[in-house]
Symmetry: C3
Subunit: 434 residues, 3 copies
């Protein structure tokens, strides 16, 4: 990555929020304590003790004290970064003043928590001038407490039209003499409040998809060397939907996502890593169907496609259309319809192969993926070639760079990663491309 990133993690997979103070039971800090104990794949890359929306307004004073207590006690051992969210609102000075005072208190070195705190999350920001007000709050707190300027990172929740527009301006504003916006770290979408601010409506009350917001957040992050994180996925039971959302996000360059439960954290920590085994996809009438691996073959067992061997060739039926094909034509047709999802092992292999080729002076090589497809019992062997040049290599590198970033910063996940991929693949994946 060429843009200077001013923080340790290059990627954030998971952004996990906990209420800072709840009324039920005797320990109002219960949820904080529970979160502080998470380890491994259930522990998030960044943990957000949430002294804003997740905590009732009249509990936030107590919540700030709970943050101090729990982070002071357990922060040193927590495997992810810690970024409390405080109150803020572009249109309400009293809310901003509250947020400033909470930040001032939480960051007071005498209270013993700030050494474990990486930054603060500012919700409900407005236009770029409002971001500068938040930055000013950081400057005051750091100066008063004798903390190094910029040592506390600032992340924002983008949940208004004016904040979305401000995403275009971060790069220009960072580094101007009167701000210290170089402290910026994460750009996080907040679709619930964004929908309210934009006055978006859907018949069922579900949130709109807001593809342009996510693009603009990702682009703003790319342009300013920051990290883009998508907002909460409310339907906790719907794991497939959550995964699909993350796949869509990754195609936009947005790698991170909010997680509401340790279960969502685990799913979202895993989703952006390459799969353990590769798989074949068949495009049947515009829908991608994953084939079932059976020994050396890849079996299609749906009904929307049929294949029959005739005396002198084949008949392939897709939807209503019937094609009479020779063996070569059939192979061509199926090549066009198939694609391959490479495993971690495949990606590492291809990168190593390309590196060796480059060493020996070649600029581009063909990578081949072979498979035997089975459709209605008929076997067809395919070889899929893909040209790799420097650009392909570098684009393929993104998931590996992500993996290496995880491996470096999350030793608590090493064991689970090795169980998942095998120690050999992990070892090679941490080396390749360096």
């Amino acid at each position: 990555m060429s843009v200077q990133r001013n923080y340790e993690r290059e990627f954030v997979r998971t952004f996990f929020t906990s209420p800072t103070a709840i009324k039920e039971g005797d320990d109002s800090a219960k949820m904080l304590r529970r979160a502080a104990g998470l380890r491994g794949m259930q522990a998030p890359d960044v943990w957000i003790p949430d002294n804003e929306d997740a905590t009732a307004p009249n509990m936030r004073a107590e919540g700030a004290q709970n943050i101090i207590e729990v982070v002071g006690e357990h922060g040193a051992d927590f495997p992810g970064e810690i970024h409390p969210r405080i109150e803020w609102h572009r249109d309400r000075p009293t809310t901003r003043l509250n947020g400033f005072e909470y930040m001032r208190e939480i960051a007071d070195p005498e209270n013993g928590a700030v050494e474990h705190i990486d930054g603060f999350v500012i919700p409900e920001v407005g236009d770029i001038d409002d971001w500068k007000k938040a930055d000013e709050a950081f400057q005051l707190v750091e100066a008063e407490h004798g903390l190094e300027e910029g040592s506390l990172s600032m992340s924002v929740i983008v949940e208004s039209g004016e904040a979305e527009i401000a995403l275009n301006r971060i790069r220009d504003e960072m580094g101007k003499p009167s701000n210290t916006l170089e402290r910026m770290f994460m750009l996080v979408d907040g679709e619930v409040d964004y929908t309210k601010d934009m006055r978006g409506m859907t018949p069922t009350g579900e949130l709109p998809e807001w593809p342009e917001l996510r693009h603009n957040t990702s682009r703003g992050a790319s342009a300013a060397g920051l990290v883009a994180v998508d907002g909460p996925y409310d339907n906790i039971r719907d794991v497939d939907g959550y995964k699909q959302r993350m796949e869509d996000n990754r195609a936009k360059g947005m790698t991170g996502i909010w997680s509401l439960t340790p279960g969502q954290v685990e799913v979202a920590n895993t989703a952006p890593l390459p799969p353990v085994t590769g798989s074949w996809l068949l495009d049947v009438d515009g829908e991608e169907v994953e084939l079932t691996a059976d020994g050396d073959t890849q079996v299609y067992d749906g009904d929307d496609l049929s294949l029959e061997e005739t005396g002198d060739g084949y008949v392939l039926r897709v939807g209503g259309d019937e094609h009479e094909l020779s063996a070569d034509e059939l192979r061509e047709e199926l090549l066009d319809m198939t694609s391959y999802v490479p495993s971690m092992d495949d990606i590492v292999d291809s990168m190593e192969e390309f590196e060796a080729a480059k060493e020996s002076g070649m600029g581009a090589i063909a990578m081949t993926q072979a498979a035997t497809l089975v459709i209605d019992g008929v076997e067809v062997s395919l070889e899929k070639d893909r040209m790799w040049d420097e650009a392909t290599y570098q684009a393929a590198q993104t998931p590996i760079t992500l993996f290496q970033d995880v491996y470096e910063h999350r030793p608590d996940q090493h064991e689970e990663l090795e169980e998942l991929y095998g120690a050999d693949v992990v070892a090679r994946a941490t080396e390749v491309g360096n």
Copy 2:
């Protein structure tokens, strides 16, 4: 809404244009007169006597006089706002000069129309400097005629790439000392000319969908406290298509749309209001099917899904896939497949319930929607829970705020609204959330 809105209507459902002078018949003002007589659901929120594209260039002098005459006579009784459109073009000073002179004439208090005129619509604007030229024309007219500065609102038609870019800049420019852009009111997309300006082409000549333009218009409106309105829907016969377009627009936060006929006005005045009765949707292979209410049950009568009771459970078939399920598994599966479109009554109920819960100290409550589904004669009872917290409440409030805005400003629609929803629902809907 937190951004300051400098005009009375917070929402505009309908933007209805009329030619100001036509050649057929003896009364060139016929269309204006007809429009001025519209009342109730057929009368638009804003009426645009159109002295630009809808009127032949050589008829526009007469058109301006017709505006003066018809608005002077009938403006006091017209139930919506009145915003004539005048000539303007970012690249043609003579067109801008014409537009200025027409505006000067129409707004002359001696002519007796301006007291009923809320503002003017400026088409074909360019970059933000061009918007400032238009604002200058307003300043000159107001000063010359002794009208209060800013009393005439300015709305623009976004129909060029440079105007789309300017949408990002309104918030920054409003309030600068040398302009009075606080007079801004509506941002209206004009897809026909935009397509020409962008040089967009489709095989059939239909307009492209331009989703990004609509997003950017809505976002610009949100950031600057303005109202976003989509352009004309040419296929007047295609009511379903018009409704679908509006549903898409609302998911983007764009509530208003151009209407070309009183029939379209009526459809578009109604579409953003919550439905009279709730309905259930079933997601069958990615397509949302509305179930048919039959007494207390919701019946699926399509062919793409089948359900059968076996001795010890159920068999559910979707597309080619067959699932053997227990009663609990079936309920889970169907819960995932269904969603509920709440009625006005449902929304008001839920809001009242949440307000009561908040009063009694609870921050989040579950709202339950129950239904008995019937598929192939097999009955399955479901209960769908949705957690409501402050954010859900506020997001759900948008259609109610819209309704209240309509109710306050359109007494001529009270009777029709009470016929539609019943007096009780209307009464509660006007009260809730205040």
Copy 3:
């Protein structure tokens, strides 16, 4: 087009790159020589001797000399414009210095190539200040060599988030006293490196579609009077996919596309021109099916729709739904389901007809397209009306303006165009609208 365009071509269909120096064989300039010999539909609108990614870094010094030699010898006869791509990178001053030196050398009049060179392409640009650095390189080279200021056009490859943001600013920056950005010509997307910069990932490694990038590039071009060109389409075998991509691009106002082979050039030179014969589309359950012309009839031969004549009407089945319809209702239904793709001849006809109507004082006329549909052997005659007014006329004009631009600047394609359309249609198409 109202924005001032500072170059000769208003449209660019094809952007064809050639490596400037390759190692295989004895002539490292072989690919350049081959490209320089292209004529007619296989010759691109702009040819890019590519001294960047297509050429190995250690071959670029030789590549620059090859450009000088081949362009010097064959440039005068080449039918398209010539725009070499040189090295550049927003984050690497040494790369920028290299690029500057290559440009200085290639543009030296003593070397005899620059008189045939229209401009240079600058890859990997960053924010607008980086574009200004590139412009400064042009200024220095022009001044040193005594070339007229602005005589060398500058085109950029947009392949980073910051360059995408800069697309919003070109219009504002052009014409400022200390730059000469009026030299800008093409805005070209580079999705491979953009994906890397945005850290986009897809399961199969295919490039994301990046619809917002393409919209923003097209809009930036529209706002600043430039030409938008999409990036390379790697799957050279997939001609249908390439055509579909171009159709999507045209709906965004992006007319040009990168071509990697003379075969792709030919496809992409043809694709934006109106078809030779018109065709009918039928929308069957959301999918557009092209009907088969058979004499005077248009035949549907798919399985997803069926039509049957009963004693007193018709039964139309679409998907699972069955409709009993009278003859009139059937016609209405089919009218809603059909659309017509006009041929070049149709468009010219309609424009001429509208021009005549306008001459005789009419502002809008109905254009009628008639067809006899055949579904399951049942014949139904339809007449499809479309209202044409000035705006329809101007929007329809885009493909004709494109054709006229091609015809004016590409005499080497006249013969092929006349073979394709017939001399009469070509003659009328070059005249209409002027």
